[in-house]
């Protein structure tokens, strides 16, 4: 194992992030603050509690998930797409580095960034609404799993994309709708039965539900099912990555 290479890639990616750390952190913090002002204070006060949790507090885990997903994908896809785009990827490809090490470096950095962001958003939420965490270990587990899974997905997107449009297409057309329809702002139980069924095909539902359970002990789907689905999704991403590296897809000609 070329640990030095993993460290080099990881540090390189983190340095890139620190150069623009203000933007990277300010924009998600501002947008979540707005969600809290609008949904938590303004509209939320008209909503009844959901399963005994105030609306403002109810949306906190979902919002963190929303940020975690979008930021993991954005960071990881850009992280690998950019060297492909500029051509600097030649160096990584010609180094004594295995694909596994490349993934650990890039995906590890992307996941780190989104976890840091997730924690910052949690802290921001604290300022606006009451938040408590019943199962901190489970919460951390979900945080890690989700960040890793979606950073992997982002990595896949970054390798697949051969233009900046494609890089933005998947997050915009698939991920954002899935997160908004994934029970971030509502409980699945509020939907008509038919849509409840449809929703169960949305992987984000399991993440949000499991994550929310770790906070308040309430969930749409069982916690075990949530965890299982998260692992299934993680496994799926790993399988795709393994295939990419076996075939050199879009990396080598």
């Amino acid at each position: 194992m070329n640990v030095g290479a993993i460290k080099a890639i990881y540090r390189f990616e983190m340095a890139r992030w620190f150069r623009t750390v203000l933007q990277s952190i300010a924009s998600p913090v501002i947008s979540t603050s707005l969600y809290f002002v609008v949904f938590g204070a303004a509209i939320g006060s008209r909503f009844t509690d959901i399963d005994g949790v105030g609306y403002g507090s109810f949306i906190v885990p979902g919002l963190i998930m929303l940020m975690l997903l979008t930021q993991s994908i954005a960071n990881a896809s850009f992280g690998i797409y950019f060297p492909k785009f500029t051509g600097t990827i030649y160096e990584v490809l010609s180094a004594p580095v295995s694909y596994l090490e490349i993934v650990i470096g890039y995906v590890g950095a992307a996941a780190t960034k989104s976890i840091v962001l997730g924690l910052i958003i949690l802290a921001t939420a604290w300022l606006f609404v009451p938040v408590y965490i019943l199962h901190p270990f489970v919460m951390v587990l979900f945080l890690l799993l989700t960040a890793a899974t979606f950073s992997l997905l982002g990595f896949i997107i970054g390798i697949w994309a051969d233009g900046f449009e494609k890089l933005q297409l998947v997050p915009l057309l698939i991920i954002t709708p899935l997160t908004f329809l994934g029970g971030t702002f509502y409980s699945i139980g509020m939907l008509p039965p038919f849509w409840q069924k449809v929703t169960l095909f949305n992987p984000v539902v399991y993440l949000v539900s499991g994550f929310r359970w770790s906070f308040y002990g309430i969930s749409d789907v069982g916690f075990g099912v949530s965890l299982l689905m998260t692992f299934v999704f993680l496994g799926l991403c790993l399988a795709v990555i393994a295939w990419i590296f076996k075939t050199g897809y879009r990396l080598k000609t």
Partner: protein, 319 residues
């Protein structure tokens, strides 16, 4: 002695770039041994496959068939050991524009899994006259300096084998001299160097051996000196006492040309041939009553050799 790099029947066919496109065979059954410690120059016109060959050896392009062994290690099955020994300075200037020189060079060393060695990086940067730029962002550097940064990156992990893909493209005369000196110095330290170039002068100046590649086939590999001797056409110039208006009828069979305002007769011959025709020529010149006061011979440059080689190849004939 075991070759430091052994390329065995290497072929590469690129997949079509778009649906309906044609696959393209960029390398055709290339076999080549690079000797330890030599400077090997790969010559060939645009699109000949030089970069493709280098990219396969360095692990950036997957070969369609064939194998490459570097210092005894298969570049695919034992890629760690093989790549550990190889440094690459690619043809394109691709750098992390927003990084500082120091960081990007240190990054390369890290990527090869070598422990940090600030003293070595400092030495490399000083050697390449980049030391005072070490904290500059790369995008603020000129093209020639970026090229040097890429060399510094390749040297940062102390490769035994260094590939330089057109190291002096777009580089001014002074820097080219620096580059040549650097290459000689590296060779003196034991590094094997494979470079590609369009400047024949560069190959002539630097290389121990020369390979010529055309349309994906390696059409010739030869010691530079032997190549120049073997393929060298020579020219004999006869400096005339009195200028002529035209080549005299009596000398027509020798296919002479008249130069220097009629004061010079130029005879082209093959120095390797059994009969060069010089004796006959000089006899005929004397018989025609032409007086001359000097003779000079000149060997054709590698450039001329190269041009004639590639031309022959595109006519379908192998030299």
């Amino acid at each position: 002695m075991q070759p430091i790099i052994s390329v065995q029947q290497l072929s590469k066919t690129y997949a079509p770039r778009n649906a309906g496109g044609q696959p393209f065979q960029a390398l055709k059954d290339v076999s080549l041994d690079i000797r330890k410690g030599e400077i090997f120059a790969l010559l060939g016109p645009n699109g000949a496959g030089k970069t493709t060959l280098i990219s396969v050896i360095c692990g950036i392009v997957t070969p369609t068939s064939g194998a490459v062994v570097a210092d005894g290690f298969d570049i695919q099955k034992q890629f760690r050991q093989a790549r550990d020994r190889i440094g690459l300075v690619p043809q394109e200037l691709t750098t992390d524009q927003f990084e500082s020189v120091w960081n990007t060079v240190s990054f390369s060393r890290g990527l090869w899994g070598k422990p940090a060695n600030p003293a070595l990086i400092e030495k490399i940067l000083r050697d390449l006259s980049l030391w005072d730029k070490k904290d500059n962002r790369i995008r603020t550097l000129s093209g020639g300096m970026k090229r040097r940064v890429m060399i510094a990156k390749a040297l940062s992990h102390e490769p035994q084998i260094l590939f330089l893909d057109e190291p002096t493209a777009g580089v001014d005369v002074e820097l080219r001299q620096d580059m040549w000196n650097l290459v000689r110095k590296l060779r003196a330290e034991g590094t094997t160097i494979i470079l590609t170039t369009h400047y024949i002068q560069e190959a002539e100046e630097m290389a121990d051996r020369i390979g010529v590649i055309s349309k994906g086939s390696l059409i010739l590999v030869e010691d530079k000196a032997i190549l120049m001797r073997k393929l060298g056409k020579k020219q004999l110039s006869i400096h005339l006492h009195d200028a002529l208006d035209s080549v005299p009828e009596a000398l027509a069979t020798h296919k002479l040309t008249l130069g220097a305002n009629g004061t010079e007769l130029v005879f082209t011959y093959d120095s390797q041939a059994d009969r060069t025709g010089i004796t006959r020529l000089l006899q005929d010149v004397s018989a025609a009553g032409i007086r001359y006061n000097d003779l000079a011979t000149k060997q054709s440059s590698l450039e001329e050799i190269f041009v004639s080689l590639v031309r022959n190849d595109s006519n379908g004939a192998k030299p």
